[in-house]
Symmetry: C2
Subunit: 300 residues, 2 copies
């Protein structure tokens, strides 16, 4: 079984996780969370989103958060940016890296961005050019790469087409999202076979949701294709507002456990990450369902 | 990705699941559970255990349960049997198949059976011979095949040695248990490479616990080795009294989801199984944590 020796985790909890919480998490708690995550060995944290607060009120404090966190020089702090207005605000806060996003399927793109796929490209192009001009790397999220809640199965060739466009703009890495957490290993396999005909494994990251418990199996399949970058979320926070189900992104600590036990280096300390996840239970006023958190709570 | 076309699920919830519950589940509820499971398409159910009630008080009603269930002719009803006394009682109830058990590690075998591995063989031999003489197939469980909570890592060659002994006795199938749910795919891979040097894939079943979220990833690895039989437990019931952690056996419905979406036939109806799992929440007075149950509850 040939697997990569080292994997990078991209922590998306403060953004992808918290944007899906019902209540508003106090700004100081967000800052504390990010500062604690910065001390776990994680070297990439997506801290917030500059999507208009009308759409994501939970992250209306993006500027405050980004300006107030303690910057660990070993960590890249990224933020989600939908358009030029968002980019301006992100650059004002000296974000390290910019993330843009769109969907591989028309239905989800329309629901999420209120535009067709073709209408979305020029908007993103402007953002990418602006970010590059400011000396920032740009990461591209492509959602619903396996199945769309509106359009059904997504053809891998469609994901290739979108990714090509984004790379042409100057995006350096694309994160492929199984947004509603329905994917199974055979689908990931089919998708990656097609993607790796066109792109290098270093250009891709995988973004799995554990809604149906298949996230780690999908990670395994991706590792076998040489993928070395995975998005994950502290405590398994997150989810998709368009899909019911208790689980969000694959939990950073559960992914870490598997990688660690397989001898794959990440540079991240499992115990510290689990402590941070546990501390979020008080902040959120609910129990988290990651396996490492359940074990740490001593549940039987 | 070459995977088997068909997989058999061996439902162990009524035994492995319920024996780990704190309270005693009323006999009629057990019977109802097994009868409902018998209508889901499952063709193998381990219904109870004839271990002395001093050790497993939760299943003290083994005779009553086995005598009272409605036998579906398409289903094999098995029971766990530790010794000749247990075998007699199981045969009295006309059990279809007998399961014996031991551990691959001395520490766990001693804790579980109160005997060394070498002391255990003659007892099992007697049971196997008795069962075969009565015309019953015998299945062998081997626990702690990856790691033992007492002895640490289990050498695959040790698992081979135990399996050889059991097959020599006349056991027809061996279920390899990651009893404390610590295993990761690379370990499963190493174990199966060694096992399949000595045995055929049809002789083996895998028994994963999802304590650390790796069960479905481990199933995938096993499928890639051609394994076609998996133990699972309705609702993810179960666990190990010697290991903390919220999760028990891999949930039948979560395993089913993955197999179904990969186009692997099982003959089992996911919706029905999920309904049965949901109904167990009332019986047990607690929420179950399988993903399919959480989705069915509409949790977000």
């Amino acid at each position: 079984m040939e697997l990569p020796k080292r994997v990078q985790l991209k922590e998306v909890g403060p953004r992808d996780g918290l944007q899906n919480e019902k209540g508003f998490i106090p700004t100081e708690e967000k800052i504390k969370l990010i500062d604690r995550l910065s001390e776990t060995g994680l070297d990439y944290i997506e801290v917030t989103s500059f999507v208009h607060p009308k759409w994501i009120p939970q992250l209306a404090d993006a500027v405050k958060v980004l300006k107030s966190i303690k910057r660990n020089p070993n960590v890249t702090y990224a933020a989600l940016v939908p358009n030029m207005k968002g980019l301006e605000r992100a650059l004002e806060c000296n974000v390290d890296e910019v993330s843009i996003f769109m969907s591989a399927s028309e239905g989800h793109n329309q629901a999420n961005i209120n535009k067709s796929i073709n209408e979305t490209f020029p908007i993103l192009k402007e953002v990418v050019e602006g970010a590059l001009a400011a000396g920032k790397n740009v990461r591209g999220y492509v959602s619903t790469v396996i199945t769309c809640p509106y359009d059904g199965y997504t053809e891998p060739t469609q994901v290739v087409r979108i990714a090509e466009k984004l790379f042409e703009m100057g995006v350096t890495e694309i994160s492929l999202g199984d947004t509603i957490g329905v994917g199974v290993p055979t689908q990931v396999d089919t998708l990656l076979i097609e993607m790796l005909r066109h792109f290098k494994s270093e250009q891709l990251a995988m973004h799995f949701h554990d809604t149906r418990g298949t996230a780690l199996a999908n990670v395994m399949t991706s590792l076998m294709h040489g993928i070395t970058k995975f998005d994950s979320s502290i405590g398994g926070l997150g989810g998709c507002p368009y899909a019911k189900g208790a689980s969000g992104n694959v939990a950073t600590e559960d992914l870490l456990y598997m990688l660690q036990e397989m001898g794959i280096e990440t540079g991240v300390q499992l115990e510290r990450v689990t402590e941070v996840a546990l501390s979020m239970e008080n902040v959120l006023g609910k129990k988290l369902s990651s396996k490492q958190v359940m074990i740490a709570r001593g549940e039987e």
